[in-house]
């Protein structure tokens, strides 16, 4: 098969087909059928068999409710505080800065609290490592941080200390452990005390551990982190002689990366810097700026978020990637680089063009320059999946390109207690346990029994050790997870929202973590736990009765006090503080420690090693066998978020699968493996009606219909086998299987999988989405120490079983004129420069192509008299331009309902989604779920198309059917977030028989839950398919801890009610009330009156909500700043400025339906290398 790297010629959406699933591309009748439906098949029907028993219980409940409801208001009590805390008022949210840690690294956050309950995570806009130089830019938050709220309230967390299941107190635990440690010390067996943690950057925790290691002589500290930074540390040690932290900076501080090349590196999604890099990248792709957009090349095996965003993508097998780096090094003239001979012609051409582009630019915005200009800064990045040698080589390439000190900076390693590869460390520990050298094992916040590689059988070792007399095993963990259950002592660990602590961000700034709430489940932080083992060594009873909250705070505060005292003279940032207390309070408030930075390492010299590496034998291509890549899971990370329903149900950015992992392979590989959908196999419990036809029409679709029974593959590496469902993803390299870590948890909890007793995970039962089952498949079994992130010489065969996957990629497909409408519009920068009107071609009006000219004039005249501020494109290029009919009364009429007139004159809310910036990371989905109390529905319901997300991120592939099979490098991927369009002429409103969805005075499309009777006419009539219906009682009304989590500003919806995106109306109303109050008070003070005119009147005040006062949840979370919400009537607002600056790219989807959406899109642009096109095209 030839790998042709040529992108298809200038792409507008009309040329290569855009599609979401293969059925769509092939226009199968089954898909056509789905298009015409409001929800995917089965969503609207009751296909679940109802037993007589459950029927009776349902009816009984309904009757009981009918009898009780309706009449009297339930009574309640009011419980005011005895003393009111400073600054707190009931009903007033308070925000505190803190940080969430992931693999040790901090993500700064702002936590919104109501009456002491954290309910929402927001971006911390002040943190210097994450905020941009542009005042408009928002640092955003990732989905892991957003979902951590649910993690804290999780009712499945471990709620009290216990010893082999027998409840104990913390005092008991400390007494027993301290006694044990004293005994071991007296016996001179300090070396048999072992500490096992994850990767840690926290300075306080590191010093706590240091103190513990000093107290217990010869004790050892092991680390295990499944997604650790080791290859990078080892690689930089090879290149520069000492391990270094590599920090990328692609925009800001005078740096602007003009070309970025990633090798197996999901720069924009994975790693501690991803959040900052997405924001920087989005600023490099700002379509309102005149500078040429940065060009991104991605060379990778899987299809990653970064690869989806790339201008050029080369799909290569994992074993080929080192060779490709090597080849690039050779062309660039890096010492020791040798040209690779084993590359295909296309690969060699790709790397050659990349090398040329890294050195100089020949075009700007598609126009050829007279003379090539040298690049000022570029970046080559490599992922943690690659071996250290490749990291060293990439460091040398960046050095050669002059990027060191600009886009690539090196710091001392941030992870504490390095260098010692964490996996090596776990292997050492395992060997010592086996050799009976360990008497006391303390496992803190890591789960090696689940995540250890297949060649370390940590589970049996730990189990055996716990059973042996004289041995003590302790797990401090948030859940009674796979590791904790094998330990004797299981102690609850506090969540980051419940504890004091600190951590470093990706670039070495410190953030202090402060608690928002007292530990819900008696947890203690790791620092407090270690303090309990060290501080009171002489008196084991002394810890009893001391307040843990105080204790943790004292530890953190005293650490920073010491640091402040020592750094005061040296750091100029500290001069502005008079006292430590001032420094500490302001550092807590701002969410970062002022004056603390990790020093950049300069004057580094490449060692001679690099030349050797370049020639080393590890960098060579392998044969033609199957290869396996292991990646971080996009939503559950390494498995630690397994029990978080929000993350489990968020469709994965690329595949849109929920509640499962799968082996991603491309079509060619699937064909080669002989995959067929099991269309003849009638599955038990599955009626003919449930199983809709696509499989019959296309054998290797892998079932893209949302509810898919797919083949299960047996994948064997080194004699070990896992059975995992296969999913076809165009764009994955040939002969490559991509597996995600993080699934197959057996003790995650009721959501993420929980096997009781000695039950075994049965692959056939896996992931039925019922409580007690296991979700997904654990692939750690086929990883080894030598093949952590990729394995060669794998074999795979279809094992004949099938598995149900819940995938949302086909759900809610939109149609226009009876066919699927590709709603993403994308072109190259060159096309954009030569034809600025390329966007104004509405695919929903396809078929009218011919009458472009004749149509536009007549229609344009029509809407003159009616125009009251819609964003109609003035040029009138659109054929079939719609006639503005709207529910909003005309502002110029003397309208009897004055509110409408007011809205027209002051606020006109709107949203713009910039497809050029959106990476599809889906943080907006989780943010929306958290803000709006959206329930999770479970795999079973998702597979019926009943997911409740108010904003969905549609993923489109753009490639011809032929290339799908033949050339994975040609696959282009786009993402399009779709919230409610807030149509001015809303189709849903016209059909609601009870007026439960109507327009508000400021033009919002309100959804009134208390009026809704559940006819679902509205969703039937919604062309954007953004309405969600509570088919069942999805919201948990009973679990006490989950009730605390809800946003009190948003109604909790019950069964039988329709819901949808409201533009976060609660936030609009809040800001509106504040603006009104402000203006009335100001008017009183200044003796002025208030006007309702949108442009104001001389001498009068306007009650205007300022730009930035209303930030919707999705906008606040978006690190790419792709979502902009605001008042389109305010010419100074960000949205108005953006809409005028990028006017020619602004378009509405399904424009021909005359709905006048307030949500519009900015078309995406690609910036392909013109030389690649002209050379090969």
């Amino acid at each position: 098969m030839s790998i042709n790297t040529t992108p298809t010629a200038p792409i507008t959406s009309a040329e290569a087909p855009l599609w979401r699933s293969l059925e769509e591309l092939l226009e199968t009748p089954g898909y056509q059928d789905m298009l015409h439906r409001e929800f995917p098949s089965q969503a609207g029907e009751w296909t679940d068999p109802v037993s007589r028993r459950s029927f009776l219980s349902l009816m009984g409940a309904s009757l009981a409710l009918a009898g009780l409801s309706g009449c009297r208001q339930p009574s309640g009590t009011i419980v005011p505080n005895v003393r009111e805390a400073d600054g707190s008022q009931p009903g007033l949210p308070l925000y505190f800065a803190s940080a969430m840690t992931l693999s040790g690294y901090a993500t700064p956050v702002l936590v919104k609290n109501y009456e002491g309950r954290p309910i929402k995570i927001e971006a911390n806009t002040t943190h210097p490592s994450f905020k941009g130089e542009n005042p408009d830019s928002n640092p955003g938050v990732d989905m892991f941080a957003l979902a951590s709220i649910l993690g804290m309230y999780d009712p499945d967390r471990q709620f009290a200390p216990n010893n082999k299941g027998a409840a104990q107190t913390w005092e008991d635990a400390f007494r027993a452990l301290n006694t044990r440690i004293s005994e071991l010390k007296k016996a001179g067996k300090g070396a048999s005390v072992r500490l096992l943690t994850g990767q840690i950057t926290s300075p306080t925790l590191a010093s706590s551990i240091g103190r513990f290691l000093k107290e217990v002589p010869n004790a050892r500290w092991h680390q295990y982190e499944p997604l650790a930074n080791d290859p990078n540390y080892v690689g930089t040690a090879l290149a520069y002689g000492k391990p270094l932290e590599t920090v990328h900076q692609i925009h800001g501080k005078g740096v602007r990366a003009e070309v970025i090349a990633t090798f197996d590196c999901d720069l924009l999604y994975q790693g501690p810097a991803a959040l900052a890099l997405v924001r920087q990248y989005s600023e490099l792709r700002d379509i309102t700026k005149s500078e040429e957009m940065t060009r991104l090349y991605a060379i990778e095996s899987a299809l990653s978020v970064t690869g989806a965003k790339a201008d050029h993508r080369l799909a290569a097998k994992p074993s080929e990637i080192p060779a490709l780096v090597q080849h690039l090094a050779a062309i660039l003239g890096v010492v020791g680089g040798t040209e690779q001979t084993g590359l295909s012609a296309d690969q060699a051409a790709f790397i050659k063009a990349l090398a040329a582009d890294l050195l100089q630019s020949t075009h700007t915005n598609g126009k050829k320059l007279e003379k090539p200009v040298a690049r000022k800064a570029t970046l080559v990045a490599v992922g943690i999946g690659q071996p250290p040698e490749v990291h060293a080589l990439v460091a040398a390439i960046n050095e050669k390109l002059g990027n060191t000190g600009k886009t690539v900076r090196y710091l001392e390693p941030l992870a504490q207690h390095r260098p010692l590869a964490t996996t090596e460390s776990l292997a050492v520990l395992a060997a010592d346990i086996k050799a009976d050298k360990v008497d006391l094992l303390l496992v803190i916040d890591t789960n090696p029994v689940y995540s250890a590689t297949g060649d370390i059988d940590f589970k049996s070792l730990l189990e055996a050790m716990s059973l042996k007399p004289g041995k003590t095993t302790v797990a401090v963990a948030q859940y009674e997870d796979e590791t904790a259950i094998q330990c004797q002592w299981r102690l609850p660990l506090a969540h980051y929202l419940e504890q004091w602590g600190d951590a470093l961000t990706y670039d070495g700034r410190a953030v202090i973590i402060q608690p928002m709430i007292a530990p819900l489940y008696h947890g203690k932080s790791a620092e407090e736990f270690l303090a309990g083992l060290t501080a009171h060594e002489s008196d084991p009873m002394a810890t009893a009765g001391s307040s843990s909250e105080r204790e943790g705070h004292d530890l953190v505060k005293s650490h920073w006090k010491n640091w402040y005292e020592s750094a005061r003279g040296t750091s100029p940032d500290l001069l502005k503080f008079k006292t430590f207390d001032e420094f500490y309070t302001i550092s807590l408030h701002d969410g970062f420690v002022h004056g603390y930075t990790t020093k950049e390492q300069t004057g580094l010299k490449l060692t001679d090693e690099v030349a050797k590496i370049a020639r080393a034998a590890t960098l060579k291509t392998s044969g033609s066998g199957l290869e396996v890549v292991f990646t971080q899971d996009d939503t559950v990370y390494d498995g630690r978020f397994g029990n978080n329903g929000w993350l489990q149900e968020t469709p994965k950015p690329i595949t849109k699968i929920t509640w499962d992992n799968a082996a991603y392979i491309n079509y060619a590989t699937a064909n080669a493996l002989g995959m067929k959908l099991a269309k003849e196999n009638k599955l038990p419990g599955l009626s003919e009606r449930e199983y809709v036809a696509p499989a019959k029409e296309f054998g290797t679709t892998a079932g893209e219909h949302g509810r898919a029974y797919v083949d299960v593959l047996d994948i064997t590496v080194d004699g070990k086998t896992v059975s995992i469902p296969a999913w076809v993803v165009p764009g994955v390299a040939d002969n490559t299987i991509v597996l995600q870590l993080g699934y197959g948890r057996t003790r995650a909890g009721r959501v993420g999988g929980h096997l009781i007793g000695k039950a075994k995970a049965e692959p056939s039962k896996v992931g039925n989405g019922k409580a007690g089952d296991v979700v997904g498949v654990n692939v750690n079994a086929i990883r080894t120490q030598d093949s952590l992130f990729s394995a060669r010489s794998a074999t795979a065969k279809v094992n004949g079983r099938t598995h149900l996957l819940a995938c949302t990629q086909g759900h809610h497909s939109m149609e226009a004129e009876g066919r699927a409408a590709p709603l993403v519009r994308v072109a190259t920068v060159a096309t954009n420069a030569s034809n600025p009107h390329w966007v104004e071609h509405d695919p929903s009006l396809a078929g009218h192509k011919g009458d472009k000219a004749t149509d536009s004039h007549a229609k344009k005249d029509d809407h003159k008299g009616h125009d009251h501020g819609h964003d109609h494109k003035e040029e009138g290029h659109g054929h079939g331009k719609a006639i503005p009919l709207t529910l909003l009364p005309n502002a110029d009429d003397n309208n009897p309902i004055e509110g409408y007139e007011y809205a027209e004159k002051v606020h006109r809310w709107g949203m713009v989604i910039d497809l050029n910036r959106c990476t599809g990371c889906s943080a907006c989905v989780v943010a929306c779920q958290s803000e709006n109390n959206s329930p999770i529905v479970g795999k079973h319901e998702v597979s019926r198309g009943r997911e409740m997300h108010w904003i969905r991120v549609d993923r489109y592939f753009q490639v011809t059917y032929h290339d799908t099979l033949e050339n994975p490098s040609k696959v282009r991927t786009y993402h399009q977030p779709v919230p409610c369009m807030q149509c001015e002429n809303a189709p849903c409103e016209q059909v609601c028989p009870v007026a439960a969805t109507v327009h508000s005075y400021d033009g919002l499309n309100d959804m009134v839950y208390n009026r809704c009777v559940g006819t679902r006419y509205c969703s039937n009539n919604c062309p954007y398919k953004v309405r969600r219906f509570n088919f069942f009682q999805y919201t948990d009304y009973t679990t006490p801890s989950l009730k605390l989590m809800n946003n009190p500003e948003v109604t909790i919806r019950t069964r039988g009610v329709m819901e949808k995106c409201t533009y976060c109306v609660q936030r609009i109303r809040h800001a509106e009330i504040e603006a009104e109050k402000r203006t009335v008070k100001q008017a009183g003070a200044e003796k002025k009156s208030i006007t309702r005119k949108k442009d104001g009147e001389p001498g009068k005040l306007t009650a205007r909500i300022n730009d930035g006062e209303v930030v919707t949840a999705c906008m606040g979370a978006c690190p790419a700043n792709a979502i902009v919400f605001g008042d389109m009537n305010d010419p100074k607002s960000r949205i108005a400025r953006l809409k005028s600056a990028a006017k020619h790219l602004n378009y509405t989807i399904l424009e021909g339906l005359n709905t006048f959406p307030r949500t519009t899109y900015l078309a995406g642009l690609r910036n392909p290398n013109p030389n690649i096109e002209s050379a090969q095209g």
Partner: protein, 227 residues
Amino acid sequence: MAQLFPSYANTLIRAGIVGAILGAHGLAAAALIFVRSPYTTGSENAATQPIQFSHAHHVNGLGIDCRYCHTSAEEVAHSNVPPTKTCMNCHSQIWVGSTMLEPVRESYKNDQSIEWKRLHRLADFAYFDHSIHVTKGIGCASCHGRIDHMQAVYQKGTLLMEWCLDCHRAPEKHLRPRDQITNMAWTADQYHDPAQPDKVWSQEELGAKLKSDLNVRSLITCSTCHR
């Protein structure tokens, strides 16, 4: 053949038809009356509170302003019931031995909240904001009635949606100058305009004037209150 029905059957049938119609209407009327009755709305019902706090005594007798205790009414959506600390501001000095105040002292000493019975309860899907109403010239008494005459507080209005809409449709009926918000006994004729010293204002005139001065809107679309 003998007649099946006697002649008075006609009358019976007629009476029956009339009766059925009247009965159906009566039933509907009864239901409508029932949902508005104090039994269902909870209005006019005073509860037995843990402490027999008398608003009549504190407001009318002593002249304490509403906002001394209900501090957040002007600031945020929720108007607070005061913390025990507020009671103790005075009652650590006066009536320190009163048995009636024993629960207050207990609460303060033991750091245990006093549990008051809730009287005003809106449905969870209705979001009322005290601060905007107070800022825009709706007095406390407009919704809560003459609290200063209540020995034990009770809910004055029905808190039904129609009750809210009455005012939202015509706010001028209840607007008052912002400095008279907590004045329980205020009426429009007390208003004094320095420009027209002799004018006696009616609520209609004053309401219309304040409505424009304070930029009061008549907001009756759903998301005003339901989110």
